[in-house]
Amino acid sequence: MVNREVVGAHYGVRDWLAQRATAVIMLAYTLLVLMALVMLPKFDYWHWKALWQLQLMRYATLLFVIALLFHAWIGVRNIFMDYIKDAGVRLTLYVVVIFALIAYGTWTVQILWGK
């Protein structure tokens, strides 16, 4: 059966949980990057480049960005729901934000894996 819940009591629980799960992922990533920065022997192009060529850093960053995009989506959508009363304007903003987030995700992959 298709779940046709539109505004039911369970609508927010998934987002609530997602917001916290993504927060924990980003917290762990923050600690990882801090550690990597502290352990970086020298801040020049070659050391910096080498750090981000590590598969660990690439995939951790990818995971971080995916978490970030979901987290940002839930947060920004909540802000719009609170302050933008006009449904048309709100929906337009949703679409703009979704496209922006997808673009940011694609951009990150390009930065990490491009040439």
């Binding site: 916290r20 910096w48 802000i79 940011y104 390009q110």
Partner: protein
């Protein structure tokens, strides 16, 4: 009886007139910092890209982040990130029913605000 009902009730619906409690200040700052962080994602991705593309763009990146105005923006952004992170951490504990008493909640919101500022200043001074 009617005299008590007729007594004018104090109304402070103006946000500028209400003295906001600490947890409320932390809460609105959580929202504002989140919005600012979202808006500045492209700036960070742009800097990140420049830092990794080539030796030349890396040098340009270092030039850009050395500019006092950019430094100020980035330190502001760091504050936003740290405040958002710490306030979020406080939220996670509240969800676990830890620190929900009024006194504790006030205290932890003061800790969140000051720790965010102190950490930002520490990192800011180190980077500047």
């Amino acid at each position: 009886m009617s005299s008590t009902a007729a007594r004018p009730r104090p109304k402070h619906l103006n946000l500028m007139q209400i003295r906001q409690p600490m947890p409320a200040i932390i809460s609105i700052m959580h929202r504002i910092s989140g919005a600012v962080l979202f808006l500045l994602i492209p700036l960070l991705l742009w800097l990140f890209q420049a830092s990794l593309e080539s030796v030349v763009t890396f040098a340009e990146f270092r030039g850009v982040v050395a500019h006092p105005l950019v430094k100020l923006v980035l330190i502001g952004l760091l504050w936003g990130y740290l405040h958002h992170l710490l306030a979020g951490l406080r939220h996670l504990f509240l969800d676990l029913d830890i620190g929900t008493e009024l006194e504790t909640a006030r205290l932890t919101s003061i800790i969140v605000l000051s720790a965010g500022i102190v950490l930002t200043l520490a990192v800011g001074v180190a980077l500047w």
